[in-house]
């Protein structure tokens, strides 16, 4: 099985104009949501973080920038494979350069896997960039 991520020249992928929210829960649905009216309208800025609510639960968040030289991608798979062996095709439908990460009543920090994951970018850079002899 191989995975292809496609974004050809004809790709219509555009930088997301709306805000991207990463939430600490899974909604068992796939549909449009009134994020602006029900969520963004209540986002408040505190000293070093943001606050919001979802179904009464308090959320604390931070804006995370996609590191320089990288781009965030929103992928879409139009056909889910029937078997594990089949190839999978993902299409780039949007790009983004920042997102807001939310935790349940906890300010996002270095303890969160997603923020830690970004460490890899620096380490990969150190490990894999060509060694230049001075």
């Amino acid at each position: 099985m191989s995975i292809r991520i496609q974004s050809g020249k004809r790709s219509t992928a555009t930088n997301l104009q709306t805000k991207l929210q990463s939430v600490p829960f899974k909604i068992h649905a796939d549909c449009d949501a009134k994020v602006k009216k029900y969520f963004e309208t209540y986002v408040k800025e505190k000293e070093n973080h943001l606050t919001a609510s979802f179904r009464g639960y308090p959320l604390k968040g931070k804006v995370i920038d996609v590191p320089d030289g990288y781009k965030g991608l929103v992928l879409h798979e139009s056909m889910k494979p029937m078997t594990e062996k089949e190839d999978r095709n993902f299409y780039v439908i949007h790009t983004f350069d920042k997102l807001t990460m939310w935790n349940w009543d906890k300010v996002p920090s270095k303890n969160d896997a997603m923020i830690q994951a970004l460490d890899w970018i620096d380490i990969a850079e150190a490990l894999h960039s060509p060694i230049v002899d001075e």
């Binding site: 600490p24 068992h28 009134k34 408040k44 979802f54 009464g56 308090p58 906890k106």
Partner: protein, 317 residues
């Protein structure tokens, strides 16, 4: 926009103040403190309105007047706010405003969102604690405003004895009486109760929905008591399948929670699930060390660094 500069003298300025408030956060208002309340020892009453309903704010109210002018409360016909009709309460509230040179009052409007955020926080902060802290805040505000407090009367939440000794530990300089049904026993608590109840009713009347759910008025969501058919209908008609309800609703009430389970999409929380189902560590039985087994899989494992960060090499997806 904020209500900070609005002085509440009557019902219409109360509405103006409440409209200017941000519905999603708490608001504290204290009337001007009349000179007589600074010069003479006062009684100060505290009571709450809207503790039980599934929607709208809970409002804490306080009222104070000099002990030498207690007959004022009688002339106002202060009585338990629940025993009075809405018109009568509005009428008395207006009179309290007219008497602003003889007595003072204050409220804290505790937003429904504040209530559920606290009840659904990691370190659960109960409604009783929210209530007590609000009462304490009002006492402090009156004290700082220069009210010559002598005796405080509080309608209890939970056990009166416990609450009373808690308040006494914070305010040893005052006489404090905490009692059940204090609102029908002590006229100053009745006055506080009326300020709270009138403010809650009017907060609902001028409630604005940032969710833009259409032109929904107070009559369309009712009293908020779980038994009210209008409230029940509102909870059915205005359920968003993703977000649930507008923030007028207290999600932490079982009435709202149950209604959501039936109509809205199921939501699975990352952390909450984790905390609830902490499985015991996989204990290795002692005999397993003596069994002959094939050498455990030689499957290539990735370094802990990547596991901890939920990172995976995509060629292994």
């Amino acid at each position: 926009m904020s209500g900070k500069d609005i002085e509440i003298k009557c019902l219409s300025s109360l509405n103006e103040y409440l409209s200017a408030c941000d519905n999603s956060v708490n608001a504290v208002y204290l009337s001007q403190i009349p000179q007589v309340c600074k010069d003479h020892p006062c009684v100060l009453g505290i009571d709450e309105a809207g503790r039980g309903p599934v929607l709208g704010p809970m409002v804490y109210g306080t009222a104070f007047c000099p002990i030498n002018n207690l007959q004022l409360l009688e002339t106002l016909q202060c009585d338990d706010s629940k025993a009075l009709t809405e018109e009568k309460r509005d009428d008395i509230f207006g009179k309290i405003g007219d008497n602003r040179n003889n007595m003072g009052w204050g409220i804290e409007v505790i937003s429904p969102n504040f209530i559920c955020n606290n009840m659904l926080s990691r370190s659960k902060y109960s409604l009783n604690q929210v209530s007590m802290d609000s009462a304490i805040g009002l006492i402090r505000a009156a004290k700082e405003g220069g009210v010559n407090i002598a005796h405080i009367y509080v309608d209890t939440v939970g056990k009166p004895e416990k609450y009373q000794s808690y308040l006494l530990s914070l305010f040893p300089e005052y006489k404090i009486t905490v009692a059940k049904k204090a609102d029908s026993t002590y006229p100053i608590v009745s006055a506080a109760s009326i300020c709270a109840k009138v403010s809650r009713d009017h907060a609902l009347q001028v409630w604005k929905f940032p969710e833009e759910i259409g032109n929904v008025l107070h009559k369309d969501f009712g009293s908020g008591y779980p038994g009210d058919p209008v409230t029940k209908k509102f909870l059915v008609d205005h359920c968003d399948t993703v977000f649930g309800y507008p923030q007028l609703v207290r999600f932490s009430w079982s009435t709202a929670g149950n209604a959501l389970e039936n109509t809205a999409y199921h939501v699975e929380w990352e952390d909450i699930e984790d905390e609830d189902q902490k499985k015991p560590e996989n204990n290795t039985s002692i005999t397993s060390f003596f069994k002959f087994t094939k050498q455990s899989s030689t499957e290539k494992k990735q370094h802990e660094f990547f596991n901890r960060r939920c990172l995976k090499s995509t060629t292994e997806l």
